[in-house]
């Protein structure tokens, strides 16, 4: 990185830090005036969780090829939090949730999501480490998708929440799931995966929605404020792009 890039990176981090520090206070003050649009996929997910309990069919959360190291740390933690919140909603039922991943380190993260969700709701009997299944990814990630197509009918899944990193093979999974009446909510941050999910999944968390999904569901001002912070950053970015275009036109 050049010194200009380093300075810009530090400035960006400082701006985000200041916003995260200041915005929660403002949000708490004007909470009633602020209304946020909850992604339709999250509303649908709550409904599916309730249906899953009523029908006695388990809910599945897939981490795909997400890894908690390399560049996937934030993605893994964000999906683990979304999984935790979704599993909390099905903890009132009798069925143990099913989780899948193709990374052995993510196995531990997935098991921790189940443990936290069930312990918080005082349902330790629903914690089963064997319900977290490892499926190999293969060189192109297709082996995981192929494995998942078999999990859906065998486990009689009601809903499949698939997040993390999953490419166009999402369409294979969604197609197989729909044949077995399994609803698919996709939260992949892979562009090809998002396109495939847009066409074949029942609901989709698009782009940044997958990262901040837990903030929409939680009722804490600090989490609520993160959505506002992201919106502010988005407006700032739009302004920077417009100014750059304007300066370019002026020469």
């Amino acid at each position: 990185m050049s010194s200009i890039e380093q300075t810009l990176a530090i400035l960006c981090l400082l701006v985000v830090l200041v916003l995260i520090g200041v915005v929660p206070g403002i949000v708490q003050r004007y909470r009633r005036r602020l209304t946020l649009r909850t992604p339709a996929a999250l509303d649908a997910l709550r409904g599916y969780a309730a249906e899953s309990i009523e029908e006695g069919r388990p809910l599945h959360a897939g981490f795909a090829q997400t890894t908690p190291y390399d560049a996937g740390t934030v993605r893994t933690l964000a999906h683990a939090e979304l999984t935790y919140q979704t599993l909390s909603q099905v903890s009132a039922g009798a069925e143990k949730p099913v989780l899948t991943t193709s990374d052995v380190v993510t196995l531990a993260v997935a098991q921790d999501s189940v443990r936290r969700a069930m312990m918080d709701r005082h349902r330790p009997e629903l914690i089963d480490s064997r319900a977290v299944i490892w499926l190999p990814a293969g060189p192109a990630g297709l082996a995981y998708a192929a494995g998942l197509t078999a999990v859906s009918p065998v486990m009689r899944l009601h809903t499949s929440l698939i997040g993390g990193q999953m490419g166009a093979e999402m369409s294979l999974v969604a197609d197989a799931a729909q044949q077995h009446r399994t609803a698919v909510v996709a939260a992949s941050d892979d562009l090809a995966g998002q396109a495939a999910a847009f066409a074949s999944a029942d609901h989709l968390l698009l782009g940044e929605e997958a990262y901040l999904a837990q903030c929409f569901a939680a009722d804490r001002p600090s989490l609520f404020a993160l959505i506002v912070v992201q919106d502010l950053l988005r407006y700032g970015l739009i302004a920077v792009i417009l100014i750059a275009v304007f300066l370019r036109i002026l020469g």
């Binding site: 010194s3 380093q6 981090l13 995260i20 934030v74 933690l77 052995v104 293969g138 297709l142 970015l237």
Partner: protein
Amino acid sequence: VRRVRFGAALASGIVLAIGSLTLLGLLVGPDLGVFSTLADVLALRQLSALFLRLAVVTAAVAVLVGFINLLLVHASRVARRQAGSPYSAVLLVTFIGAIVVRIGAPQVYTLLLEDVQVPIETALAILVLVTLVLGAYRLLLRRFSWSRALFLAAVLVVLVGALPFAALAPVRAFSDLLVAIPATAGTRGILLGIALATLVAGVRILIGQDRSYRE
């Protein structure tokens, strides 16, 4: 009054300290004047490199533990003859076989990988294309929306444009235009959104607001 558990506070403190030091060590280079001098005095770059090495070693150990756990789960399933134990037996035999073949006959290992696994994955990749179009069509029939119809039309235009027929040159030109302008613009928009979300979520984890290591 909210009670703060000592363990949670300690975990948050460790994350905050190690995360901040690593980030500063990576960000502050040698050309930032007084900040670089400060980083040199505090040995931030060396600390950052040390933490990264520790993370790599921890990840490697976690991979090893994960594999051992996986083998133990499947071995116990076979020993107890639980449901699905034949699949577990296949996994164990394949695992041992792969190690033996890798050490004893590496050329057979390469042959298995290149002539068995890769063709199977290629066949699946072709299926992806078919299921994508079919899935979009089925979903459109089940729940019509203009955006889904537009998506299906765009997929068909790009697929038809890829056909090697001279008569389809106008379709190809339109397909190239679709890929070059609206698709690229949309891609950049989504990537910028993901980058912003990663930044916000990353800072949130860094300052100890994430719950996963506090509970």
